[in-house]
């Protein structure tokens, strides 16, 4: 856990495709007639941090939602940590238990306290005792630095605090992969940093992360790879230094021009 972000970065790039934790092949997804994902291929190595960006409607959220099968897909295959999705609910639940997800709208359970939100999955999925679940929950609430809010209800917290609780809730399942679906998009500007800081520290611990975000500062400093999607396709992927300084594709250049120049 003491490894610095830089060391992680070099080891991750050296492993190049040696140890894929997510393998997505020929993924196709339709919403009725709308072709949401067009033949997407993506390999994610263990410990890799990937930022996915692109205009709205480009399929980036849909892509990461397919990884834990919150979204169904029509054809193609996704293998997560050796478990193939699309072979019945048994596999889906096995994958979901290993993959944490953080949503734009937090999606905390409003009728449960912060502590109960975090205890629920360890209790029901891992079969932990109440005492164990509570210990796990407190450990990760401390990890996101809000153990003092444990007995409050989500509505009593700020947006930034709620999102950190959502991260803690996902971490309570000790996931191998974390998916972030625009985690800071619904936040007031002054609360973005506390959530990004939490994500950066997760990255430093070597968590495999797939982040859909428009926080380009985060992408620059944390990502091993930045992926640009448009109209359901992966248009470009590169290490952040090349992605931002010398984007190859016209559409990537337009997109970066729009989000960076204001």
């Amino acid at each position: 856990m003491a490894t610095t972000a830089e060391m992680q970065h070099t080891t991750a790039s050296m492993d190049a495709a040696a140890d894929p934790i997510i393998q997505i092949d020929n993924l196709q997804k339709y919403y009725a007639a709308f072709h949401a994902l067009k033949n997407v291929n993506l390999t994610v190595r263990r410990g890799e941090r990937i930022v996915i960006c692109g205009p709205s409607g480009s399929g980036k959220s849909t892509l990461i939602r397919c990884v834990n099968r919150i979204e169904q897909f029509e054809s193609g295959s996704i293998v997560v940590d050796g478990i193939s999705l699309g072979e019945g609910m048994q596999n889906v639940n096995a994958v979901r238990a290993e993959v944490g997800m953080v949503f734009q709208q937090f999606n905390l359970f409003p009728h449960l306290t912060v502590l109960q939100n975090c205890m629920l999955a360890p209790l029901r999925v891992r079969g932990a005792s109440k005492k164990e679940a509570q210990a796990i929950a407190m450990k990760y609430l401390e990890r996101v630095r809000i153990p003092d809010q444990a007995s409050k209800y989500p509505a009593q917290l700020s947006g930034g605090q709620q999102q950190r609780v959502a991260i803690a809730r996902a971490l309570c399942m000790t996931p191998k992969i974390m998916l972030f679906d625009e985690p800071t998009s619904a936040l007031d500007p002054e609360m973005v940093k506390e959530v990004l800081d939490t994500m950066v520290s997760l990255a430093q611990e070597g968590m495999t992360m797939l982040c859909v975000t428009h926080e380009m500062g985060f992408a620059r400093s944390v990502a091993d790879r930045v992926i640009f999607m448009d109209a359901g396709e992966i248009i470009e992927e590169a290490e952040p230094e090349f992605f931002f300084s010398q984007p190859k594709n016209e559409r990537t250049r337009n997109f970066l021009g729009q989000i960076l120049n204001h």
Partner: protein, 216 residues
Amino acid sequence: MIRDFGWFEVLSIIQGMGTTLALAAVAFIGGGVFGTAVALARSSAWKWLRIIAAAYIDFFQGTPMLMQLFLVYYGLPVFGIHVSAWTAVAIGLTFHASAFLGEIWRGGIQAVPKGQNEAASALGLGYVSRMRDVVLPQAIKLSFAPTVGFSVQLIKGTSLAAIIGFVELSRSAQIVASTTYKPLLAYGLAGACYFAICFPLSRVSAYYERRLALKT
């Protein structure tokens, strides 16, 4: 023979009130359990289950409870199943209440934001836990007011059990009215008894609604 309106008459109306309460309790418990099942079927991922539940709801919402009670009471013996009046009324009220409660709670389940189910799924929770721990508690809160509204209707509706021989509140008032020739007094007292049951229910519901709203 005309009787005076004395303690005996008051007591028989109060006894009728006890039967009404018992009928209401049966309807709530049966309707609550089966209504949950109907609501879950109605919001299920399986199309045929949704269709069956919808047909069930349409039938019992589209026909009078009077007819439903008749159907059970006189219909079951046709199939060789002989039931007591209590069993018949319990089955009839359960059918009726579960159709209405099922539809009310279906609305509640579908009003819970989709993100709640997604977050629960993403944590690896199975269907039972997703419903019991996440969706239903919120759905019940959302459908609290119409649930109480229907319950009050149901308590008053139990008067229909009189037609298959129950001497509940309305029937006892009718008997007292016809033996004392004081219909206004008899029905007035019965009305006061209904009010005494239903009014506190409405108040308690308003109180809990406020408390639930404060909590989240």
